[in-house]
C-alpha cells in the first residue's frame, strides 16, 4: 500500500515536471531554442492565480481567475517573443539560451518585488480534500494534475501531428528558409509558439499552486524539468511527459529507500547517465549530420 501511495504522489509531481518540460519541448520543436525561463514563467502563473483568488487581494472565484491568469500568461509569452526573441532570431542557439536565462532572472526579480519572498498558498477548496481508498489517500488536486496533464499532452500531440498550424510550426523549425518559400508566416508561427508556451506555463503554475506553496525561487524547479525533457529527448512531446514521470517517480522512492541527502541527487544522476549513454534522449530524433 505504501508503494502505491509513493507511486501516486510520484505520478502527480512527475506530471508537473512533465508540463514544464512540455513547454521546453514545444519551444524547442518550433524554434530550435531552449527557453530557460519556462520555470520562472510557471512561477509567475502560480503567484498570479494565488493573488487573483486570495481573499486579501482580489478574491475572485477559480472559474473567473483561471481564464484571467491564462490570458495574462499568454500575454507574457507573446511579449517575451515580441520584445526580445524576434530581434535575435537567426543568431546562435546559445545567444537565445543566455537571453532567456536573463529573462528568467528578470521575472524572478519582478516577482520578488510584487509578491515578496515569502511562500504563498492557494486558497481553495481543492486543497486539503482527500479521499481514502483503504489505506491509500488520494488528494483531489493530485487527480486534477494527472488528468489535465494527460489531456494536454494528447491534445498537443494531436496538434503537431494533424492540424495545419501544428505542421506549419514543425516546418518552421526544420527549415526556416524553406518554410518561408512555402508561404508559411514564420514570425507569426513563432509568436504563436510562445503564446502556447505561456499558456502551458500558466496551467503548470495553477496545478503546482494547487499542490504546494510557491515563492519566487520556485522557478528553479525548471532545472528538474530539464532533466525530464532531456530524458525524453528534447523534441518529443510524449517523451517530455515520460521523462517527467520518470523524474517524479524516482524522487519519492529515492527519498524513501536511500539515505538522507541522496534522493535529491537522483534526477540529475539519471540525467547525466542518459546524456552519456543515449546522448539525445530515450525518444531520440537525431540523425547524424550530412555534409
Amino acid at each position: 500500500m505504501e508503494i502505491l501511495q509513493l507511486i501516486f504522489s510520484g505520478l502527480a509531481s512527475g506530471c508537473i515536471y512533465g508540463l514544464i518540460a512540455l513547454g521546453f519541448v514545444l519551444i524547442y520543436k518550433a524554434t530550435e531554442a531552449v527557453n530557460f525561463a519556462q520555470g520562472d514563467m510557471m512561477m509567475i502563473g502560480s503567484l498570479s492565480i494565488i493573488s487573483l483568488t486570495s481573499s486579501t487581494a482580489l478574491g475572485l472565484s477559480l472559474m473567473v481567475a483561471i481564464p484571467l491568469m491564462l490570458i495574462l500568461m499568454a500575454l507574457i509569452g507573446f511579449l517575451i517573443e515580441k520584445v526580445f526573441i524576434t530581434h535575435i532570431t537567426g543568431e546562435s542557439q546559445i545567444a537565445i539560451a543566455i537571453l532567456t536565462i536573463a529573462i528568467g532572472f528578470g521575472l524572478r526579480f519582478i516577482a520578488g518585488v510584487i509578491w515578496g519572498y515569502d511562500p504563498q498558498t492557494l486558497e481553495s477548496a481543492l486543497i486539503g480534500t482527500y479521499y481514502n481508498f483503504g489505506k491509500l489517500v488520494i488528494s483531489i488536486s493530485e487527480v486534477l494534475v494527472i488528468i489535465t496533464t494527460l489531456a494536454l499532452t494528447l491534445s498537443l500531440y494531436y496538434f503537431f501531428a494533424k492540424t495545419k498550424i501544428g505542421v506549419a510550426m514543425v516546418a518552421v523549425s526544420q527549415n526556416q528558409l524553406a518554410a518561408y518559400y512555402m508561404g508559411i508566416p514564420v514570425k507569426r508561427m513563432q509568436s504563436l509558439t510562445w503564446i502556447i508556451a505561456g499558456l502551458l506555463a500558466g496551467v503548470a503554475g495553477f496545478l503546482y499552486s494547487a499542490k504546494s506553496s510557491v515563492d519566487p525561487i520556485t522557478g528553479l524547479l525548471g532545472i528538474k524539468a530539464f532533466a525530464a525533457a532531456v530524458i525524453g529527448g528534447f523534441g518529443s512531446l510524449p517523451g517530455a511527459l515520460v521523462g517527467g514521470l520518470v523524474v517524479g517517480l524516482v524522487e519519492p522512492f529515492a527519498a524513501r529507500f536511500l539515505p538522507v541527502g541522496y534522493s535529491h541527487l537522483m534526477p540529475y544522476i539519471i540525467l547525466v547517465m542518459v546524456l552519456i549513454f543515449r546522448p539525445h534522449g530515450i525518444f531520440s530524433q537525431t540523425y547524424s549530420k550530412k555534409v
Binding site: V34, L99, F105, G106, V113, F234, I276, Q285
Partner: protein
C-alpha cells in the same frame, strides 16, 4: 592610423601587434603593480576580486570563446579548486605554492573526466549536462562531510609562501600582488596556447566540427583538452576565491555563480581576453555602483530602494538583455567598433561589423 607592413609570417603570431601595443600593456602592468600605493584597503580588495573573476572568466572563455562549447557548470570547477587547495594544505600539509597548481590540476582532471564521455554532445545538451553537474557537485560537497565540512563549510587560513604572509585581512596588498602575478602568468599561458597547434585546433572545432575532423583534427581529444585547460584556469580562480572569501560552503558555489561567470564573458565580449577582464570589472563594479546610487537616491528623494530585494540581479539581467539585443559582441566589441570608426575616420561604414544572420535549420533531421 598605424599601418603595419608585414614582411614575414611572424607578425601574425607575435604576442604584440607592434611596439606601441607592447608599450601599452607594459604600462598597464606597471600601473596595476603600483595601485596598492594609492588606494585604500577596500579598493585593493575589490581589485583582487576583479582579478579572480577575470581568471575564472578566462577559463570559461577558452571553452566558449575559443573552442565553442558552452558550460553552465563552471562553479563546479571553482568549488573543486577552492576545496582542494584548502584540503591539500590542512589535511596533507602541502605548502600553498604546491597546493595551488595541484588544485588547478585536480579541477582539470575533473574537467577532462566530464568532457571525455560527453564529447558527442554539443550546444544545448552540453549546457544542460554541465548545469546538472554543477548541481551534483553542490550536493556531493554536502555529502562528503568528513572531507569538506558539509553544510558548515570550510575556513581558509592565510596564504603563506616562504614565510611571507598573504592574508586577506592582514596583508591585502601582498594578496593583490600574488593574484596579479598569477593573472599575468595565466594571460601569457592563454595567449601562447592560442598560438600553438592545439589552440588553432580549438578555433577549427568552434567554427566547424565536420571540417575540422576532415582536416585531421582529433575532435574528441581537442574538446577534452579545451575542457581541461578551461577547468584548470577556473580551478586556480576558485582556489584564490576560497582564500579571498576566507570562509565558504557549498552554497557559495551555486548554480547562480556558474551563470554569473557565463554572463560575465558575454557582457565583456566572447572570444577575447579583454572580454573576460571587462566582464569581471562590470561584475565587481555593479554592486558598488548600485549601493552608491541607492544612497544617492535615498538622500535626494527619500525613496528607499533597499526595500526592493534582489535589485542587483534585476539590474544585472537588464544589462545582459540589453547587451545581447544591441551589442552581441559585448563591451569589447563596442570598443572595437569605436576604435575602427576613428582609425578609418571618414570611411567607416555602418554595416562593417554586421553579422550575417542565418536561417534556422534543425539538427533533428527527419
Amino acid at each position: 592610423m598605424r599601418t603595419i607592413f608585414k614582411t614575414s609570417y611572424d607578425p601574425d603570431i607575435n604576442l604584440f601587434k607592434d611596439r606601441f601595443h607592447r608599450l601599452c600593456y607594459v604600462l598597464l602592468c606597471v600601473v596595476l603593480i603600483l595601485f596598492p600605493f594609492f588606494l585604500n584597503e577596500y579598493f585593493i580588495g575589490e581589485l583582487t576580486l576583479t582579478l579572480i573573476w577575470a581568471i575564472a572568466g578566462m577559463g570559461l572563455m577558452i571553452l566558449v570563446g575559443q573552442s565553442g562549447q558552452v558550460s553552465l557548470g563552471h562553479s563546479a570547477f571553482m568549488a573543486t579548486g577552492a576545496y582542494s587547495v584548502v584540503i591539500l594544505q590542512s589535511k596533507l600539509g602541502l605548502p600553498f605554492i604546491l597546493a595551488l597548481p595541484a588544485a588547478g590540476l585536480i579541477s582539470a582532471l575533473l574537467g577532462v573526466l566530464i568532457a571525455l564521455p560527453t564529447t558527442r554532445l554539443h550546444g544545448i545538451y552540453l549546457a544542460i549536462l554541465t548545469l546538472a553537474i554543477s548541481v551534483l557537485v553542490e550536493d556531493i560537497i554536502v555529502l562528503a562531510e568528513p572531507l569538506t565540512g558539509g553544510v558548515n563549510g570550510m575556513f581558509a587560513s592565510d596564504i603563506v609562501i616562504f614565510g611571507i604572509n598573504f592574508g586577506r585581512y592582514s596583508n591585502i596588498e601582498n594578496l593583490y600582488w600574488l593574484v596579479l602575478f598569477t593573472t599575468i602568468l595565466l594571460v601569457l599561458v592563454y595567449k601562447n596556447i592560442l598560438r600553438t597547434p592545439i589552440g588553432r585546433a580549438f578555433a577549427s572545432i568552434r567554427d566547424s566540427e565536420v571540417s575540422a575532423s576532415a582536416m585531421g583534427v582529433n575532435v574528441v581529444l581537442t574538446k577534452a583538452v579545451a575542457f581541461g585547460v578551461s577547468s584548470f584556469f577556473t580551478g586556480i580562480a576558485g582556489a584564490f576565491f576560497g582564500h579571498f572569501a576566507t570562509a565558504f560552503n557549498y552554497e557559495t558555489f551555486n548554480v547562480i555563480m556558474s551563470i554569473t561567470i557565463l554572463l560575465m564573458i558575454v557582457i565583456g565580449g566572447v572570444g577575447s581576453i579583454h572580454g573576460a577582464f571587462l566582464g569581471a570589472i562590470v561584475i565587481t563594479l555593479l554592486p558598488v555602483l548600485i549601493s552608491f546610487l541607492r544612497d544617492f537616491i535615498f538622500q535626494g528623494t527619500s525613496i528607499n530602494l533597499m526595500a526592493l530585494p534582489g535589485i542587483e540581479t534585476g539590474i544585472f539581467s537588464l544589462i545582459l538583455i540589453l547587451v545581447i539585443l544591441f551589442e552581441p559582441r559585448g563591451i569589447y566589441g563596442a570598443w572595437l567598433k569605436t576604435r575602427t570608426y576613428f582609425e578609418l575616420f571618414p570611411l567607416y561604414r555602418k554595416d562593417m561589423f554586421r553579422r550575417q544572420k542565418s536561417y534556422l535549420k534543425t539538427e533533428r533531421l527527419r
